[in-house]
Symmetry: C2
Subunit: 213 residues, 2 copies
């Protein structure tokens, strides 16, 4: 059974991006601190086409998170831009050769033709909701799992709908004080969590949960 797996870096005070996100600063002010632990890893640099990098306790966590994933779903905010696409739509934050190398389904209110990028990444824009995006991603994944990319808003929707099977928080010891909170708008949601693994690593603690309704 194809599972929906969610991996995300979060500050200790619960933010997954800093305040004042913009095209120039997509992670928001201070948000880059949430990703320092991963971008220096060999396990992250290799699939991004870069050489070198560290090997430490985070290595197997990152490798595992990339294994057996056949498609990705993400929110519009994580692709980039807002509102209607216009006649000459922006290509998003991911450049000409995005690091996904798989079909990516983007939950958005605004219809747009699919985009094919170099390296095997396709972006498909889904306007009829999170269930539809997940269904299309499951089909595209062809027996592999689906990764939920983020950001906070679409993650909350999938969490509240009980559609996430596994969630791993990469907790970074910083306090951003403001920004996009991962766990918000969840009042009244009935979500059962079981911690299945804890890994302490340099600059980050990995907390893995089985998620149920």
């Amino acid at each position: 059974m194809t599972r929906l797996r969610f991996n995300i870096s979060m500050s200790l005070d619960g933010f997954v991006a800093g305040p004042n996100q913009s095209e120039e600063n997509p992670l928001g002010e201070g948000g880059m601190q949430l990703h320092e632990w991963v971008v220096e890893l060999e396990a992250w640099r290799r699939p991004h086409g870069e050489e070198g990098g560290k090997v430490n306790a985070s290595t197997e966590v990152v490798e595992e998170s990339l294994e057996n994933v056949g498609a990705t779903v993400m929110g519009r905010n994580m692709f980039g831009g807002e509102g209607p696409w216009g006649d000459d739509p922006w290509g998003g934050w991911w450049g000409d050769e995005p690091p996904f190398h798989m079909p990516v389904f983007i939950v958005t209110h605004h219809a747009r033709e699919p985009v094919t990028k170099e390296g095997g990444t396709t972006f498909t824009f889904v306007t009829d909701g999170i269930e539809s995006a997940l269904e299309q991603a499951r089909e595209a994944a062809a027996g592999k799992d689906v990764a939920l990319g983020g950001g906070a808003n679409v993650a909350q929707q999938y969490l509240k709908a009980g559609l996430i099977d596994e969630m791993q928080l990469h907790v970074v010891p910083v306090l951003l004080g403001a920004g996009a909170r991962l766990f918000n708008n969840l009042e009244g949601a009935e979500i059962a969590l079981e911690c299945t693994r804890v890994v302490a690593a340099p600059g980050v603690t990995h907390l893995k949960y089985r998620v149920g309704k």
Copy 2:
């Protein structure tokens, strides 16, 4: 040097008490879930005068948190009640023999004579701020450390002022969705954290941090 140590149970979504706290339900709706891991422990039951209980990976964490503590500071909300005390002030949530067995200093806007309880607990009410309460607690601790009891509001004040030396979060895998957020009102605070220990235990994950300015 006397250190200020802060231990607190927190839901995965960052709440240290549920919504709608009241005299009948001091932990708020669902808040008791944050403490289930500890109240079943022998290491917690013994100092509370109760027999039996479990021994597991949380045991040494709890025992350590109680060791070498000579005084406690806490907020008014954690003592109980709100507003002026009146002529016949309420004794608070802690009963005739509170589990502290040490001097406790309560940060409040409302003056009140000290109260002596059975078993060595004294409650002293401090109206001139968090620094004064900490100073008085340090003196009373006579060389031992001071424990910060909570709740969220006074913890935020101590954190923002850079007065906490060590913080340990007991992260419980539940989503309360609402209540008292521990990490709030911290925008602009410059707080350095270093994770010094991670302990995975039944029903809880203990994350310990060294806190600096």
